[in-house]
Symmetry: C2
């Protein structure tokens, strides 16, 4: 039996590729093993099981997303940064339909890289909002609002929840523009 030479990184990377092809929920250890040219139980030498693989995939995708959000915003500020980051967010979700859902898994506290990736992602959003002069509780609320809007749109779009795919770009731009306006006069109520 010739060795294939896998390690955890190659396994998780291939899982990401496979997920993008067949969909997050169709990612299966059996398919992954056959793709890697190995019998299914061999995967257990590299990942502790299906749940652990999903967690590692989440760490990978979250790190990628954080990086793309960060670099989209670099050198910009205000509405400019917001639009660039929002476009990068949706773009990532569409280019990686299998990885994106993994980013919604809450980071495994025992995996420092995962935790760091999560912090980097929300940190990128936080930084953009600081450009609007938002800090403290206001920044927390605004971050949650922005994450909600972006994730909600992207999730509904991916699920086909908007019916006909026509004019989705325009709808998204309106949504982002409306958040821009809101952030300029945040907080929007004194509650």
């Amino acid at each position: 039996m010739p060795r294939v030479g896998l390690n955890q990184q190659t396994v998780v990377r291939e899982a990401a590729r496979l997920a993008d092809e067949v969909g997050y929920h169709q990612l299966t250890l059996a398919a992954l093993a056959s793709r890697l040219g190995v019998a299914l139980p061999s995967l257990y030498k590299h990942v502790r099981g299906a749940d652990a693989l999903a967690q590692k995939l989440s760490a990978l995708a979250t790190a990628e997303l954080a990086t793309e959000l960060t670099s989209a915003a670099v050198g910009r500020s205000g509405g400019d940064a917001l639009r660039a980051m929002a476009d990068a967010y949706r773009d990532y979700a569409r280019r990686h339909p299998g990885r994106y859902p993994a980013t919604q898994q809450v980071p495994d506290p025992t995996d420092p890289e995962h935790v760091e990736a999560g912090e980097r992602a929300v940190g990128a959003i936080f930084a953009v909002l600081r450009g609007y002069g938002l800090t403290g509780d206001d920044a927390v609320d605004a971050t949650r609002a922005l994450r909600s809007a972006l994730h909600g749109f992207v999730a509904l779009e991916a699920a086909g929840g908007f019916g006909l795919p026509r004019e989705l770009d325009r709808s998204y731009h309106q949504l982002v523009a409306s958040m821009d306006i809101s952030f300029r006069s945040w907080p929007v109520t004194d509650a």
Copy 2:
């Protein structure tokens, strides 16, 4: 073998209850059958399988949500209606953590009740936005924006994606208030 006297409605209703208790993804035909006091394959006399059950559950939950959204908005208009509907939306998702995810499934075109429920739900949102003077493409964009914001928040909240659950009410109210402001000056860009 005494008959239990099931029919499709009782099966789907019990599935909804079970889903709320154990979670949407933990809903299993085996658990449902044992809950109904029946052997697993007997369920196939009432639903065509696990996928069909999920679809019927979606129809049920969508209809419930549509009804609650509609009655929250009745007799109100503008920001008042928006806030009432938004509260009803989040409230439904929290009271029914197992049914809510089912509402995101796109309606089965071959199930008239399901289709009607979906139309009623987005119709309720549409009606509130007409109170802002929005029609045509603007109303489409605004509806998508509102659905994105509400679903995004509720999904992230349910997933524990916001970290500590502190001050979530305040964050939600800010989000809704910001949408209210945006809708008053919609469209928000001429793109």
